[in-house]
């Protein structure tokens, strides 16, 4: 199996699964229970939180464990908007965000909030001037993703953070789901107030994640109850899931150097190969880009057909983001980058992990050539 859909989800690491099972078996207590079984779970939870904080170079009180990216993004956006609506009802985001950000913002529009969408250029980069024009005195939240999930563009988070910082009423949220473990983003240095991370994107488990909430940021809870996670997210803590997340974070950090040296080479190799074919359009920009994603289109050929054709060789890639691939057939991200419709409806994404080898990429290239040649015969 050559699995190249790691931006959709990754294969869980065996060591992480082992930790999960052991934590679920031996530390099943409710951390809030006052007996020693509860205490053991609480200790493990505390240690996990401290380790997560130290990996992110933040304070342990700033970690809120969640169920993943969608919850983290919703919690950040709605929690801030509802809490601080008396300061203003204006929110800024970009046109290439993940649906969990865009839809959350649209949900708030129905409640009377105003949302401005910052444009991106051809490479998918936020237009800083457009942001400067759109940010106002009553802006309470700016939500921008770090690494784009479809094409891999890295946004200038620090630069954006510095702009938002000049507006003391505005909070800055970053969707770091595709960036963690691949592209560094020092939270304090970038003036980030809230940051979403999801465990299953780096060989952890689904249903695990965290939201970084800078000390002092007030929040409207979306899950009222027993007051867990600083009362931002009540509910009995998923201790084994949290253990799995934190272990995955540690392993991802340890492998990050490997990723940042190895994957760009594989990525370039892919580009060099695809560029030879005149019918292929490469959508991933050449600069400011994460090393694990490569997006390209073969206009005129339905992307689903390519995916199924590759599947016959046990190779797995994807169309646009898995979360969006069920809706309309054109990619909103590619449209936002100014791609023509025939390119935007035929996007394909290869997303690698530290497990991807050069051999995998060679095999993919070979099979892709065959498939394209065959399909051209059939589809013209």
């Amino acid at each position: 199996m050559i699995y190249l859909d790691n931006s959709a989800t990754t294969k869980p690491d065996q060591q992480i699964l082992a930790s999960y099972t052991k934590a679920a078996t031996d530390f099943f207590g409710n951390p809030s229970s006052i007996h020693s079984i509860g205490m053991d779970a609480e200790r493990l939870l505390r240690k996990s939180r401290e380790q997560a904080a130290s990996l992110l170079e933040v304070n342990h009180q700033e970690i809120v464990f969640t169920s993943g990216g969608t919850e983290g993004n919703n919690l950040a956006i709605k929690g801030i908007a509802l809490q601080h609506q008396s300061r203003g009802k204006h929110i800024i985001t970009s046109s290439i965000e993940h649906p969990s950000v865009l839809e959350a913002c649209q949900g708030l529009e129905m409640l009377g909030f105003e949302v401005s969408y910052v444009d991106v250029n051809k490479s998918g980069l936020i237009d800083i001037d457009s942001l400067k024009q759109k940010i106002r005195e009553d802006t309470i939240l700016v939500s921008i993703m770090h690494v784009n999930n479809e094409i891999g563009t890295i946004q200038p988070i620090k630069q954006i953070g510095e702009i938002v910082k000049q507006y003391p009423k505005a909070f800055f949220h970053v969707d770091h789901v595709q960036g963690f473990g691949k592209v560094s983003m020092p939270l304090y240095e970038c003036h980030v107030d809230l940051c979403t991370i999801s465990g299953h994107k780096f060989h952890g488990l689904k249903g695990t994640g965290l939201l970084y909430v800078r000390n002092g940021v007030k929040f409207y809870s979306l899950a009222h109850g027993g007051g867990q996670e600083r009362a931002i997210r009540s509910g009995t803590e998923n201790v084994p899931g949290i253990v799995a997340l934190v272990k995955a974070m540690r392993l991802a950090k340890e492998k990050q150097e490997n990723i940042t040296t190895k994957l760009p080479v594989l990525q370039q190799k892919l580009i060099n190969h695809l560029e030879k074919n005149k019918r292929i359009v490469i959508n991933t920009p050449t600069e400011q880009v994460a090393p694990h994603i490569l997006n390209f289109s073969i206009p005129g050929i339905k992307p689903e057909v390519v995916i199924h054709a590759l599947e016959q060789y046990d190779i797995y890639i994807s169309t646009k983001s898995a979360c969006a691939s069920k809706s309309t057939d054109e990619s909103a991200v590619l449209i936002a980058c100014g791609k023509p419709r025939n390119v935007a409806i035929s996007g394909l994404r290869i997303s690698m992990s530290y497990e991807t080898t050069e051999k995998d990429i060679d095999y993919l290239c070979e099979k892709l050539d065959d498939i394209i040649q065959n399909l051209r015969k059939v589809m013209g």
């Binding site: 930790s19 052991k22 205490m39 240690k47 934190v246 272990k247």
Partner: protein, 400 residues
């Protein structure tokens, strides 16, 4: 720039005259213990300074670890060069060019090796001139330089250093004897322990545990605090006192207004007896004058009357806010405020006497037979070593 040494400057130690060697030997030992996880490094002791030979280890984590060791005034990364003018020039230039955001510099030479042919003033000029001629946009400022390059010409070699990193100051833990800290788990007692360590005291801690009135979490908290304290010196042992039965007895037999005073006297008696057994010569408490009923002058008089031991109270004149700010600085505060009851809060009467009278206390105690209880308790004290705890922690770490 590849640094090979960390230079450690002693603080007050150098004032200690003929006893100095005792202090420096203790410090070297503490540094060695603290750096046990870096097997490649070597600690070399001199009479007026110490060198950590890095042997290829990354200096950053070592500097960080050393920043909590008492007895170190300051530290600098150092380059060791042969006592030759050209070699010194070459390395000093490298040091200057490697420093970022530097506009001005200054050279200060110290020449304790009088065999070196150039005087220190003259060498300042020679080296300063050389650095000026071989760099761009950098000038000399002898008053407020961005970078001060210190050249220390000694018999064995010359050491070049630039930035000074502040140490924890104080005296090396272990150089001022051993004391028994009454550690409750609140904010004050760990700070008291920390301050005593800063003056070179080695600590063992005693904790009064009253299950089922106090929980394992309260004990856990104390062990966490002791572990943090260990970071500033030697590993701190925690002696756990089974206090329930005696505490119940006091509560039952003594009028409520006086039960707190009597309980405190029992704690002192147990602590002293245990310290005596261990050959420890003083007790430390986190008392601060006027903070609670047991910390009035009258209370302290009545409580202190049971012991002839020195009772050291490092916080006695401090405000609560001052204590809290130290607690935060040394990362104990978060642990201290975990909301679990300790033995001092479980049987607290509604209106404890703030001005207990010693005669009355003694009168109430006269009808109580407690000496056998104390003997029994002292025998039953259990000791938790941070090291044994580490193996339990290891289990959690392995999961993560």
């Amino acid at each position: 720039m590849q640094y090979e040494h960390i230079l450690i400057r002693y603080g007050e130690l150098t004032l200690k005259g003929r006893n100095r060697k005792l202090f420096t030997t203790q410090l070297a030992e503490n540094v060695r213990q603290a750096l046990i996880k870096f097997p490649a490094v070597k600690v070399q002791k001199n009479h007026d300074r110490m060198y950590i030979v890095l042997n290829g280890e990354n200096p950053e984590p070592i500097l960080e670890r050393c920043s909590t060791i008492f007895g170190i005034q300051s530290m600098s990364l150092a380059i060791k060069v042969a006592n030759e003018e050209e070699a010194i020039k070459e390395q000093a230039l490298k040091l200057l060019l490697d420093s970022k955001n530097i506009r001005t510099f200054k050279v200060s030479t110290k020449r304790s090796n009088k065999d070196f042919p150039i005087g220190s003033q003259e060498f300042n000029h020679i080296l300063g001139g050389y650095l000026l001629n071989n760099s761009e946009n950098i000038t000399v400022d002898v008053h407020y330089p961005d970078l001060e390059i210190s050249v220390d010409i000694r018999t064995e070699a010359t050491y070049l250093t630039s930035k000074k990193i502040r140490g924890a100051a104080g005296l090396p833990v272990g150089s001022s004897g051993k004391a028994l800290l009454l550690l409750s788990g609140g904010i004050d007692s760990p700070v008291a322990g920390y301050l005593a360590m800063k003056r070179g005291m080695q600590l063992e801690a005693i904790h009064f545990h009253s299950p089922p009135y106090t929980s394992d979490r309260a004990m856990e908290k104390v062990l966490d605090l002791a572990e943090k304290l260990s970071f500033y010196g030697h590993s701190v042992k925690v002696h756990i006192v089974p206090f329930t039965a005696l505490q119940q007895k006091v509560h039952r037999e003594i009028p409520h207004g006086y039960s707190m005073t009597v309980m405190r006297r029992m704690m002192m008696r147990i602590s002293e007896a245990f310290a005596r057994k261990k050959g420890i010569l003083s007790l430390i408490t986190g008392e601060s004058l006027g903070q609670v009923a047991s910390q009035t002058m009258e209370s302290m008089y009545a409580i202190n009357a049971v012991t002839s031991y020195p009772v050291i109270r490092p916080l006695i004149t401090m405000d609560k806010t001052e204590i809290i700010s130290i607690s935060e600085e040394i990362n104990m505060y978060d642990i201290s405020i975990r909301p679990y009851e300790d033995c001092c809060t479980v049987f607290v009467p509604n209106a404890p006497k703030t001005k207990p009278r010693l005669e009355k206390v003694e009168q109430f105690e006269a009808s109580l037979i407690f000496e056998p209880d104390i003997e029994e308790i002292v025998e039953a004290i259990e000791t938790v070593e941070i090291k044994t705890r580490e193996s339990q922690e290891q289990e959690l770490d392995d999961l993560l």
